[in-house]
């Protein structure tokens, strides 16, 4: 298969125009960290890799706004921002490989979504190279802007089905001066929910709250505070007192241990042949766990992480018998849907991907999504078949 590596937005535009003339079917690849997300793509004539699009276009530290080419990796961006006392509040896995364009394409986020939102919420503008080769910019380079339709929101999470993301404009935040992680051991789902309630009642504002399943029906809850040193210390102390009053033992972690905890939750999202994302309401952890039980039982090295303030969970592991996993997935999805939520397959063995739709039934507004795809990509040449309902 042909592989292109354009090195500028102009080159992308030229390339897509050329592909439009020849009706070439295209796939887009950033860091390649989410290639298994969604359904297997239809046949492709060529792929466009963004790794040569790896320049910072514009960075004004005093405005906390950065414009970057799509192939810039998350760690490349973070190290530049850090040297200016800033960061992008997105701590998605694979920072060394995941590209900004890829993160936008999948709507990436990490545990800090609890404070900063996901990349969706920090994305100020996008330059999209359309299927016809035209460059379409939307949004702007300022934090506040309501001029025109918010196309960046639509592009975010669209999995390359509307065009090639060439430039992204992102809002940065000040780098916190201090960080403290505390963990609470062996909580039941209802204790996890109660602890989140307690945090809120106490008006504490953690930047991440993640529960990791440690065994049948038990979780280790990690809570991270970030900000100025004195505030972080006092807020962490208040949380420890609160946990104790609720009957949990609370452990402040030293830096290497803290990092290990957050890497463990990263691993849940990035290891294992089968990986799913499940969404429900934050208080529905016990129900989510029930719905996932048969699936987890069918996985070796099964793990489950729950973003407790958001209601988003990640389950992963190695399927014991890939032939049987489809049924457990089906049951888990039906359960999630009954809770008003969803289950998305982020990675799976080929046999599972071939028979189990990664996204589930399309939503009631699917015909609008089809209309959108039809207008942006009338010949269905861009990443066709991977997204919801085969978009």
């Amino acid at each position: 298969m042909i592989s292109y590596e354009p090195s500028s937005i102009e080159a992308c535009a030229e390339l897509l125009s050329e592909c439009a003339r020849d009706k070439r079917r295209l796939g887009f690849i950033g860091g390649g960290t989410a290639l298994e997300l969604g359904n297997p793509p239809g046949e492709l004539d060529a792929v466009i890799r963004t790794r040569q699009l790896n320049h910072i276009v514009e960075y004004a530290p005093e405005d906390q706004v950065i414009v970057a080419e799509a192939g810039v990796t998350l760690s490349q961006l973070q190290s530049l921002a850090r040297s200016n006392g800033q960061w992008l509040g997105v701590d998605a896995p694979h920072a060394d490989r995941a590209t900004l364009g890829g993160l936008v394409a999948v709507g990436g986020f990490g545990p800090r979504r609890a404070r900063y939102g996901g990349i969706r919420d920090l994305l100020l503008g996008v330059a999209l190279v359309r299927a016809d080769g035209a460059v379409a910019k939307s949004g702007g380079k300022v934090v506040k802007n309501v001029a025109g339709f918010d196309l960046p929101k639509v592009v975010c999470g669209s999995l390359g089905s509307l065009g090639l993301i060439a430039h992204v404009t992102l809002r940065l935040h000040p780098l916190p001066k201090a960080s403290a992680t505390l963990t609470l051991g062996e909580l039941t789902p209802s204790q996890v929910v109660d602890t989140v309630r307690g945090l809120r009642r106490a008006q504490l504002e953690p930047s991440s709250v993640v529960a990791l399943r440690t065994g049948e029906g038990r979780f280790e809850l990690g809570v991270r505070f970030e900000g100025f040193a004195r505030g972080v210390e006092r807020d962490a102390g208040r949380f420890a007192d609160l946990a104790e009053a609720m009957g949990s033992s609370c452990k402040p972690l030293h830096e290497p241990e803290a990092e290990a905890f957050w890497l463990r939750q990263d691993a849940v999202r990035s290891q294992g042949q089968l990986r799913v994302r499940i969404a429900a309401l934050p208080t529905q952890l016990a129900e989510v766990q029930d719905r996932l039980a048969p699936l987890l039982a069918g996985l070796r090295a099964a793990s489950f992480a729950w973003y407790a303030t958001l209601g988003i969970g990640f389950a992963s592991g190695e399927p014991e018998a890939p032939g049987l996993i489809g049924q457990a997935l089906e049951a888990a999805r039906a359960g999630a849907r009954r809770l008003g939520g969803s289950l998305v397959v982020e990675a799976a063995p080929a046999a599972v991907r071939a028979s189990f739709d990664a996204w589930g039934p399309p939503p009631s507004a699917f015909f609008i999504m089809q209309g959108l795809k039809q207008r942006f990509d009338p010949d269905r040449r861009l990443n066709a078949g991977r997204f919801v309902g085969g978009l």
């Binding site: 309501v146 918010d150 196309l151 929101k153 309401l281 208080t283 939503p363």
Partner: protein, 495 residues
């Protein structure tokens, strides 16, 4: 160059039979077709752009909206949705002869889930009423446009409304989890909902800020926030706006993210002092700031913010000693527009955005532009996010002054765009700024936006003629300044 949209033919005059059909759905009392009564609905809070709707209907629930929209569709009538009519860009200004769909009767709060931090409301619910309802539980709804006391949540969704405290907490788009939407042919779809990350394109994200051009929102699911443990207000005074602008930069560079940083210049301060009788010192610039969070965090951030103001040359940093004093400080800010309205017979409000670091330079340039047109400009704005609100003051009874004010206003908008900013930060494009869209976006940018629109509303039945660059519909010359009654009373502001 206008984006090619299907041209709208002049709607036929409404027959009695047609009016009767609408009345049968919503009741006679909620179906307004008398010309004398229609006048009320000719404009939103941008009174110099006016058009007479053919009919105003005020449905009370989703089913009525569906029936009304279907009737309009069958009759070929364009539909313009309207909330409280406080918009400042003519977004809810009717199209001549259209069906104006007023949603202010749909004001039920249907569900509140504190534990999962969301609630579901009808579009006519007033912004501030949400926070009032939540206050006893210690929660609130974060976006706080200056018109919060009367603007509706449906209108906020249409405009992606901001407010002073959006610097830290984000805009409407960050707080709307889902909507129920009625499309032009009466189909009802749900976009998003209380559970995050529903698979598919983020159509809810596309809808927020679409200015009533995609459909009629009949339900909104919003995120609600726990109140911060503490909020500290600081009022810093300066000898110049340049010093105040530098203070903002220093605060931000110090890693502090205040909930709000508002700036006022001398003309605005003087107006508030003299008209509203607020006890502010006679200075050239001031910053009004809220720093919030946990007690431990705020202790430090407030102290640092205060120090940084002083090192930027602040004359004084005041801290209110009571809740009343704090309220008075904020009342001063919120009544600034009212005060200007009383000082000047007419004014134009701009809403351009610039990169925050350029505040000092751009304000100097704005003053120069004002001088060159022989008009005065006062500045009251959201300094933290660079969202300017220059008020261009003029007297329409002086020959040629209105035109010069318009020219001055246009030049300021262009200055914002050429500084790397935007033509509008929170008021929306509507009818007012449609002509400037081409300065910010290329033909293919606009074409792509139009594709989005057409995916929802292929026949452009909703709010046609808005957002995209078109000739102004009427009244290129602003009329006499006419404040909303609540604004006249100093209850709400415009910024």
């Amino acid at each position: 160059m206008p984006v090619p949209v299907r041209p709208l033919s002049e709607p036929p005059p409404l027959s009695r039979q047609l009016v009767a059909r609408f009345a049968a759905v919503v009741g006679e009392a909620n179906c307004i077709s008398e010309p004398s009564q229609l006048v009320t609905y000719e404009c939103d809070a941008l009174p110099h752009l006016r058009a007479r709707p053919g009919l105003v209907v005020l449905p009370k629930n989703r089913d009525e909206v569906v029936q009304v929209v279907q009737l309009a569709y069958a009759a070929g009538l364009p539909v313009v949705p309207r909330g409280s009519g406080t918009g400042l860009s003519g977004g809810a200004m009717p199209i001549q002869g259209c069906l104006l769909l007023g949603l202010s009767r749909m004001k039920r709060i249907l569900e509140v889930d504190l534990d999962n931090q969301w609630m579901r409301v009808e579009p006519g619910v007033v912004n501030l009423d949400i926070s009032k309802r939540l206050a006893p539980h210690g929660y609130y709804y974060a976006p706080d446009p200056s018109s919060a006391q009367i603007c509706s949540i449906g209108g906020n969704v249409a405009e992606n409304s901001g407010g002073a405290h959006c610097l830290k907490y984000g805009f409407t788009t960050h707080h709307v989890l889902g909507v129920e939407l009625v499309l032009a042919d009466g189909r009802v779809v749900e976009l998003g909902g209380p559970v995050l990350d529903a698979p598919g394109y983020d159509l809810r994200g596309a809808l927020v800020g679409s200015e009533g051009t995609l459909g009629v929102v009949t339900l909104v699911t919003i995120r609600i926030c726990r109140m911060p443990e503490t909020t500290r207000t600081l009022l810093a005074t300066f000898a110049s706006t340049a010093d105040a602008g530098n203070a903002v930069s220093l605060i931000i560079a110090g890693g502090i993210l205040p909930a709000a940083i508002e700036m006022m210049d001398k003309m605005a301060i003087d107006a508030v002092r003299s008209v509203m009788g607020i006890d502010w010192p006679e200075v050239s610039a001031l910053l009004l700031m809220d720093v919030d969070g946990t007690e431990a965090e705020v202790e430090q951030t407030a102290a640092e913010a205060s120090e940084r103001c002083l090192s930027a040359g602040a004359l004084e940093v005041r801290r209110p000693s009571s809740a009343q004093e704090r309220d008075a400080m904020w009342r001063g800010r919120k009544s600034a527009f009212t005060a200007m309205g009383r000082l000047s017979p007419n004014y134009i409000v701009q809403d351009g955005v610039i990169p925050r670091s350029q505040i000092a330079r751009v304000l100097t340039e704005v003053a120069r532009i004002a001088d060159s047109w022989g008009v005065r400009v006062a500045n009251v704005f959201h300094a933290g996010d660079g969202n300017l609100h220059p008020l261009i003051l003029y007297d329409a009874s002086v020959p040629d002054e209105a035109r010069r004010a318009e020219e001055c206003s246009a030049q300021i908008v262009r200055l914002c765009v050429s500084s790397g900013g935007s033509i509008t930060g929170e008021h929306g494009v509507g009818a007012d700024k449609a002509a400037y869209m081409g300065e910010m976006f290329s033909e293919s940018d606009l074409e792509s936006m139009n594709w989005l629109r057409c995916s929802f509303d292929p026949e452009t039945r909703f709010n046609p003629g808005k957002i995209f660059p078109t000739p102004r519909l009427c009244g290129d010359i602003p009329g006499k300044y006419a404040p909303h009654p609540a604004e006249a009373a100093g209850v709400i502001g415009r910024g």
